[in-house]
């Protein structure tokens, strides 16, 4: 009995142990690491990937995955930028970009649900399409020159806290509420656990899955807009490759790739673990190439751990 409890404890809180360990390690390894300034810095750095991970969580919980998020980030930035330059009010431009993202989510859900295609392949295809669109729309040239007001989203502060961090934290709180207290959230967990059983209880699977994919794209679009505002330039390649950081964070945080398992609080910790790793290594003057290696190793370790703890469930 005692053994089982210990296992449960590790299963539940492993990621927090890792996080604390990391912080202690880097605090000793570098004199500049352990400071409020650097803490806010880390949080601001993760805000983009952190926001995207909220959306990704919904999709992975249903048993799916969305690789197109990197493309959504770029495409949304480009579209929003072009609209603003064409004279649209920033609010209109933002809303239009979010709508575009919703359509992307709809397409992802449509192909993976209606034709029973593997969502990994479907979203890999949409990722390609979105990448292409970003370059076509911009002609591969960065777009810039927005109004000053637009900068607030990515560069503004409320008190000492950067706005991106606030957006991120609000989204985590909302996601926590939705996943824990609403019927949508509970059905999402059910669908990931056993889709057929949930279908036979009369829950509209189609609606829930479409909602999850659309939420994922729209939340990713929010990240895209924050990014656009922060760098104040729409790069057609912005956000490329982020899908891997996002998935790594979610999986590290205990979201099972087979669906139905994991908590949003864990995801936040998972994203943080990756960010602290990267930030700490930077502080210790480890080159970016070695950081990639380290991230890959951490990801492998995380998914292996997930499989071992949860048994051989595929």
């Amino acid at each position: 009995m005692k053994k089982v409890n210990l296992k449960n404890l590790f299963q539940k809180y492993a990621i927090y142990f890792v996080l604390v360990f990391e912080i202690i390690f880097f605090a000793f390894a570098s004199d500049v690491f352990f400071s409020l300034k650097n803490a806010l810095n880390v949080l601001r750095q993760i805000s983009i990937v952190g926001i995207m991970a909220v959306g990704m969580t919904f999709v992975i919980l249903t048993g799916g995955v969305d690789l197109s998020v990197g493309g959504v980030t770029a495409c949304v930035g480009v579209i929003c930028a072009k609209l603003m330059l064409a004279g649209a009010h920033p609010v209109i431009a933002i809303l239009a970009s979010l709508c575009f993202a919703a359509v992307v989510g709809l397409v992802n859900a449509f192909f993976s649900h209606e034709f029973k295609l593997n969502p990994m392949i479907v979203t890999l295809a949409t990722l390609q399409i979105l990448k292409g669109i970003s370059y076509i729309v911009t002609g591969a040239i960065p777009v810039y020159g927005f109004t000053e007001k637009f900068k607030v989203i990515g560069q503004g502060h409320i008190g000492p806290i950067p706005i991106p961090i606030i957006i991120m934290i609000v989204l985590y709180i909302l996601a926590y509420i939705v996943l824990t207290y609403t019927s949508f959230g509970q059905s999402i967990y059910g669908i990931g656990g056993n889709e057929e059983a949930v279908r036979l209880t009369g829950i509209n699977i189609r609606k829930q899955k479409y909602t999850a994919y659309m939420l994922c794209s729209v939340i990713t679009a929010i990240a895209g807009i924050v990014l656009l505002s922060r760098v104040n330039t729409a790069q057609p390649s912005a956000g490329f490759g982020y899908e891997m950081d996002v998935i790594t964070g979610a999986v590290l945080g205990g979201i099972s790739m087979s669906g139905g398992e994991g908590k949003i609080t864990g995801v936040f910790a998972g994203v943080l673990v990756m960010a602290v790793l990267s930030n700490g290594m930077m502080m210790c003057n480890v080159t970016e190439y070695w950081q990639w290696v380290a991230k890959g190793v951490v990801m492998l370790a995380a998914i292996t751990y997930d499989r071992i703890i949860k048994g051989g469930k595929v």
Binding site: Y181, S187, Y189, G190, N194, E196, A197, R199, L200, N204
Partner: protein
Amino acid sequence: MQERDVILSLRDVSKSYYGVPAIEHITFDIYNGEIFGIVGENGAGKSTLIKTVAGAIPANGGEIRFKGEKLELKNPYEAISKGIGVVYQEFNLFPNLMVYENIFFGVEIKKNGFLDRKQMIEKSREILKELGFDFDVREKVRNLSPAFQQATEIAKCINHQVELIIMDEPSAPLTEKEVDQMFKVVRKLNDDGITIIYISHKLNEIMDLTDRVSVLRDGHYITTFITKETSENELIKNMVGREIADIYPAKELSDQEVILRVEGLNSSKVHDVSFELRKGEVLGFGGLVGAGRTEAMRLLFGADKKDGGRIYLHDEEVSIKSPTDAISHGIGLIPEDRKAHGLILNKSIFLNCLLPSLKRYSNHGFIDFKDSKKEIGEYYEILKIKATGQDQLCLNLSGGNQQKVVLEKWLLKNCDVLILDEPTRGIDVGTKQEIYQLIKDLAKQGKGIIVISSEMPELIGVSHRILVMHEGHITGELQGENITQEAIMTLAS
């Protein structure tokens, strides 16, 4: 009959699952070169017996000797190398590999260290041709019809030079014509000196094909007949044997209004199924496995797409296109396979019970945890679910308790019509009795209950009226005194 060599002998072979005996003290001999039939009702222990012989599951006790040598198999692959081949109901092939790769699995022909595919293809073709089959051995098994898959399985046995082939319900997936072909194959194998154990529900096949036949009942060996000297009726009598134990509550027949009417339900596996269900009635569906009962109920429930048919509830036609529709009209289904379809195993009892009733327990999308926990807790008590609490994962519950959770989730939903597909499969007698009482209570409350069961005593025990299905058709209706196992069997085959 002259003295013959014994090829397989069983002495006191027993196997129980979690303390529930599936077979007990099975003892008999099988002679070299005969076709030996095994018959028995569902749950009689036939499958367990085969799996024990084939090394798929270990026996708890007793001794199995093959060609005089004590058999201690650790896994099914060892069986085939020792000379025992098994053709299971669900074929044991690799669907993603080609026919010849399956036939040569584990005994690949090699030349200079590399696979000699040419020779394997050639030889596979020869074996199949001998059996009277001619299809592309480079086809993936997944793409083959059941008959060809079965042929592949048999060819695999021959290629491994087995001396004994056990066939578990080999005719079940086949069409009538294919069955004739399979019979020829079995006789040919037998002529070549291979001993066959043939298990079937279908007594006419047993009478046709076998030299001797043994009857199992409730996990016990009953007797063995020389086939020529017995009759189908005598076999049935021995299979049924016992009196129906009085674990079934007394029935109170319903004279109330019709609650559900189904007309002309059709699909590829269900043909023109029509029936009525009254308030307070328990309507049983009898028949062999694969007769189309489950399929018919899934159509009614909207779980599968139907090609035609009308459904009336309280004399009003309703459109049911999905389980969501069915449930909103007050129909609930407790599926046959509780692990795959009934439960989310890695989720809590609470969540499993909550999901069908989400609407009732939520307010603007937010779940009322206080109310739902309280009500789920009440039924949890009534059903006497044995668990550490509502938060326990269903994964760790026993079969009986898992089934109770499935029942609970539908009780909470309070359906007018409840369909129970094999409600007591794989659960202990005590829980069975509780479930029978529950079925009776629900009927008494005025609900319409449909029960599918392959266990005939159970079907007879709980049903007011029984419809029997065969190959997708309703072949007859039995009521009152006419309900007997013999009558059901006759209609079912």
